[in-house]
Amino acid sequence: MIHQFRIYDTNMVLDVNSGAVHILDDIADRVLSCFNENGRPVEERIGLLKREIGEEPVDEALSELETLKSEGLLFSSDPYEEMFTPKTTPAVVKALCLHMAHDCNLRCKYCFAGEGNYHSEKSKMPLEVAKKAIDFVIENSGNRKNIEIDFFGGEPLLNLNTIKETVAYAREKEKDSNKRFRFTVTTNGLLLDDETMEYLNDTMDNIVLSLDGRREINDAMRMTRSGIGCYDTIVPKFRKMVSIRKDKDYYVRGTFTRNNLDFSEDVLHMADLGFDQLSIEPVVLPDGSGIEIKREDLENIFSEYEKLALKLLELRKQGKKVNFFHFMLDLEGGPCVAKRLRGCGSGTEYLAVTPRGDLYPCHQFAGLEEFKLGSVFTGIEKKDIVETFRKINVYTKDSCRTCWARFYCSGGCAANAWNFQKDLFGTYEIGCELEKKRVECALWLKAQELLG
């Protein structure tokens, strides 16, 4: 399978199964369009093209395309499906999302967690639960060395002391268990002060800072309980946090809704503020929410992604390296195909833990009783649900099997599939379309770097 596409004036083709990417001139692009899905040139179409643009250039392009085919770089076959089955998906848990607080000091309009409480009573994770979660992941991670803990909420800094004690406990356990813990915190920033910033900088491998971009965009969605936008409070804190972060990982991460389909302006605004590790994600909300992305918005959003890619390229040419999370592709050093076909690991290697210690397939399933897997005290009780999640991969999802982007999004988000189709093996179609466009833009950016 191949995927041919064009962004601005660059023709490109992705060979799906090998991951090879090529830049085509207009002749090669048109010749390749004459091939059928089995990778064979259709004589009739080739004949017509020869009459239009001449025999010699068409033959040259045909020869080059055949060379790529013979080298396994075009129309290559898929050897993976037989190699990677649910049975080969290891039954280990190596990452936990700890819901430190089912409570929040913001009232963001699009929050999937209600007002941070996941539609239940407000609560904070007691240290006893957090410690048990660390024990649980050590016991269930088999021979995996790298363990990831994400301090999440609600707003996790509402429970900072427990975070500190949890980190200390995990560090204490590292040596004897032969594990290495890596910590991430996702925060809205309101509670960041100098001491907290210093602590987070020292202990967190990654810090995710929530900001939606321009003041008026951010403040229309992200406001305090009293209805005041948080931009002016958090931006100075984020600047300070990032300045002490130096070369350690962080993201300034936002959400766009159909109220700001010109979201490239928000990304660029964040870059203007001095942030260089950026992400902005489409809101995921059901029909009727008022700010959800609709199918009729897609063309606008596609144009916006292209515009963003062009702007980022211009910034790079000016010597400002700004990374946009969804355009980051390391073509040679990215994840292996085993990772690519299984996706994010929710429900298998990645679980969420609520303040009372209940286990869910991921943070987005938290509170859905039918997905409660057990608890850190009892272990996983509903093994059948975990087995179902182990079966999820790009070959067991009908719409992914035939999708050219399957090794880039890896089947997408299980929670989105459930929320929109009530089927873990389904897809969130608008999300798929957006992901495909982002991958195209990412490949285009790579091409521009090569072309200079």
């Binding site: 290559s76 190699m83 999370f325 390391d330 073509l331 050093g333 992901e435």
Partner: protein, 46 residues
């Protein structure tokens, strides 16, 4: 080649016996909390 530039060669279908160690970052632990992109994760072995 005159009409084609290879931007990237075979990056997926090689060393298939050496892959799948599972030590890499879980995808949802970075910036992505709702829209999954796996291909931008790093391989721990490289």
């Amino acid at each position: 080649m005159k009409h084609i530039k290879i931007l990237n060669g075979n990056s997926l279908n090689k060393d298939l016996k050496k892959i799948g160690c599972g030590e890499c970052q879980t995808s949802c632990q970075s910036a992505c909390k709702t829209s999954c992109t796996v291909a931008n994760q790093k391989c721990e072995r490289r």
